[in-house]
Amino acid sequence: MELELLTLFVMDTIVFFAIYLLVSVGLNIQMGYTGLPNFGIVASVAGGAYTVGWFVGRFAMMIYGIEGMDFINNNAYVVTQINAKLANDHLTAIMIFLLTMGLVIIVGMALGFITAYPAIRLSGDYLAMTLIAMAEAVRVIGIGFSPIAGGTLGVQVPDPFAWMGKMRYFGVIILILTISIITFLMVQLIINSPFGRLLRAVRDNEVTAESIGKNVVNVKIKAMILGSILASIAGALYSFYASATIPAAFTRYDWTFWAWLMMMVGGTGNNIGVLIGTLLVVLMRRLIAFYKFSLAAFLPFEPLWLELIGLGLVLILIMIFKPQGLLAEKPTRVRGVKSD
C-alpha cells in the first residue's frame, strides 16, 4: 500500500478499535463478569447515536438562532449553516460536545436501567430473547420515527470539531482514542476492586450471594447500567466521527455479534484480553474492508457475504475449541493489596 492508503488504514483501524473497545468492554462487564447474556447491546449503542443525532443539531440551531427551518426536513442546509458557525467558534463547539456527551451518559443509564428489568427476572435463553427483542424495538422505532434521527434516511450531525480545519480527520480520531483509553482505564479501576469480585460472585451463584447478604438485584442493575453507558458513549462517538446518525446502520450484525466475537476471542471475564481481542478483530475487519474491492473483481457476488461466513465460522470454531478465549479469567487483582 502506498503511504496515503496506509495512513488511512491505520487511522481507520484506530478509530474503530477505540469505538468497539467501549462496546466489547461494556459487554464484558454484563456478560463476562456478571453472566448476563446481552444479545441486545446494539440498543445502547444506537441510543447513544440517536442522542447525538437528535440533540446536537437542534441545540446548535437554538444557540445560533437559526429559525424557520426544520432540522430533519432541511437537514443538509441547517447543518451546513451550523458548521460554518462552529468552524470559527471552538469554545461553543466544545461546550456542545461536552453537553451532548453528558446527555449520552444519562441516556445510557436509562437504557441500562430498562434492560436491567428483564435481567432481574429472567435468565439464560429467555433473557437473551427478551434483550434481542428490546434491541429490535429500539431499531424499529429509530427507523420509523424520523423526529429522533431522521428515520430511514438518517441525519447529518453538525461537527463540533469543524474548527480543527485540515487537522479534523486526525484530531477527531486522536480525541476518540483518548476518550476510549481513559474510559477503559476507569473501568479497570472499577473492575479491579471488591465490586469486580462481587460481579463474578453473583455470576457464579446468585443464591449463595443472596444468602451472604448481597443485594443481587442491585448488582445486576449496576452491571447493566455500566455496560450500557459504555456502549452508548461508543455509539455517540461513532456519530460524531461520521458526522451523521443513520438508524438503519445500527444492526445486530455490526454492533452485537461483532462485539460478542471480540469479547469471546479476547476472553470473557478479562478486560485486557477483550482489548486484545478487539484490536485483532477490528484489524481483521479493516483488512477485509480494504481488500474487498480487489476481491469484488473476481467474485460473482458481494464480498460482504464472505465476511458473514467468516464471522459465523470463527464464532462456531471458538465455541468448540476455545470458549474461554485467548486470555483466561484471573482472580480480581485488587489494587493496593499484594496478592500472594
Partner: protein
C-alpha cells in the same frame, strides 16, 4: 366470502405457526432456542425461486424439494455443530451463539446464491413475488387453501404421532425427562435428530410457500424471527399445541393489528408493525413466562384446588 384481510392474516398465521412448531420442537428436545429458524425459511424461499424461475416447473413442486433440502440442512447442523458442542459441554450461551452463527452462514449462503444467479443467469433474484403463479379455487388463493389444509392436517397427524405411535411417545418421554427416558431405552439422540429433521422440513415448506404471497428477498426469513419467538413464547414453549395457538394469535394480531393501525393513524404506522409481536413477546416473558399453556394449566390447578376445598 372471507374478507381479504382475514385471508392475509390466516396465510401469515399459518406460516408463523409452521415455523413456531419447529422452534418449539427443537427447543423441547434439545433445549436450544434456534435463532436461525427464520433463516431456515429463507432457504425454502429460494428453492421455490429455483424450481419456478430456473427449472420452470410448477411452484407446488418446490414443496417436497424444499422439505427435503431444509430437513437435511437442519439435520446436518444438529449433528455436525450442535451435538458436537453439547458433547464438549458447551454452555447454553455458547449454543445460542452457535445458532446465531449458523444464521449468518445460511444468510451468506442464500445471498451468494442470489447474487450468482443474478450475475450469471440475468434473472432478478434479489426480490420477487410469485403470486401470479398461484392457482385459485372458489375465489380463494391456492396458498390459502393449501396452507390451511396442511396445518390442520399436520395438527391431527402430530397428535396421532405423539400419542399413538411408539416413537412419538418416546419423543414425549425424552422431552419430559431425558435421563429417565434413556434409562428406559429411548434413544434420546435419535429423538433430537428427528426433531431437527422435522423442524427443518416444516420451515422448508413454510419458506417454499412464502413467495406465493409475500414480496421475498434474502432477508425475508430473518425478519420473521421476532414473530416466531413471540408465538412460541406465547404458546409457552412447552407443547406443540401451544405453538399452534401462539402462531395463530400472533399471526392474526400482527396482520390485523397492522391494518387497523394504518387505517387509524396513517401509512407510517406500517413501519412499527414489528412492535406488535415484540410487545407481546416482552409482556409474556415478563408477566407470564410460561405462556398461554402455563396460564391454562394454572387455571386448571386452581380449579382442582377449588374442588378440593368444596369437598371438605
Amino acid at each position: 366470502m372471507l374478507p381479504p384481510i382475514l385471508i392475509e392474516g390466516l396465510v401469515y398465521a399459518n406460516i408463523i405457526t409452521l415455523l413456531s412448531i419447529g422452534f418449539t420442537l427443537t427447543y423441547l428436545t434439545s433445549r436450544i432456542p434456534n435463532f436461525a429458524q427464520g433463516t431456515f425459511a429463507s432457504v425454502g424461499i429460494y428453492v421455490t425461486f429455483t424450481v419456478t424461475k430456473i427449472w420452470g416447473l410448477n411452484v407446488y413442486l418446490a414443496v417436497p424439494v424444499g422439505f427435503t433440502l431444509n430437513a437435511l440442512i437442519a439435520t446436518l447442523i444438529y449433528k455436525g455443530i450442535l451435538r458436537t458442542l453439547k458433547k464438549h459441554g458447551a454452555s447454553l450461551v455458547s449454543l445460542m451463539i452457535s445458532t446465531l452463527a449458523i444464521e449468518l452462514l445460511i444468510l451468506a449462503g442464500i445471498n451468494i446464491y442470489a447474487d450468482i444467479i443474478q450475475a450469471k443467469l440475468w434473472i432478478i433474484s434479489r426480490t420477487f413475488l410469485l403470486k401470479y403463479l398461484d392457482f385459485s379455487y372458489v375465489g380463494l388463493p391456492g396458498i390459502f387453501i393449501v396452507l390451511t389444509i396442511f396445518v390442520l392436517s399436520l395438527t391431527v397427524v402430530l397428535y396421532l404421532f405423539l400419542n399413538r405411535t411408539k416413537f412419538g411417545i418416546a419423543m414425549r418421554a425424552a422431552v419430559e425427562d431425558p435421563d429417565l427416558a434413556s434409562l428406559l431405552g429411548v434413544n434420546v439422540d435419535l429423538v433430537s435428530t428427528v426433531s431437527w429433521f422435522l423442524t427443518g422440513g416444516l420451515a422448508g415448506i413454510a419458506g417454499c410457500l412464502i413467495p406465493l404471497w409475500f414480496q421475498s428477498d434474502p432477508n425475508t426469513g430473518s425478519m420473521l424471527t421476532v414473530s416466531i419467538f413471540a408465538s412460541s413464547v406465547l404458546g409457552g414453549l412447552s407443547s406443540i399445541y401451544g405453538a399452534i395457538l401462539g402462531g395463530y394469535i400472533i399471526g392474526l394480531t400482527e396482520v390485523m393489528g397492522n391494518s387497523v393501525l394504518t387505517r387509524l393513524l396513517g401509512g407510517w404506522a406500517a413501519y412499527y408493525r414489528l412492535l406488535i409481536p415484540l410487545t407481546i413477546l416482552c409482556l409474556t416473558l415478563l408477566k407470564a413466562p410460561r405462556g398461554l399453556v402455563g396460564l391454562i394449566e394454572s387455571i386448571q390447578t386452581r380449579g382442582y384446588k377449588l374442588q378440593l376445598i368444596r369437598r371438605r
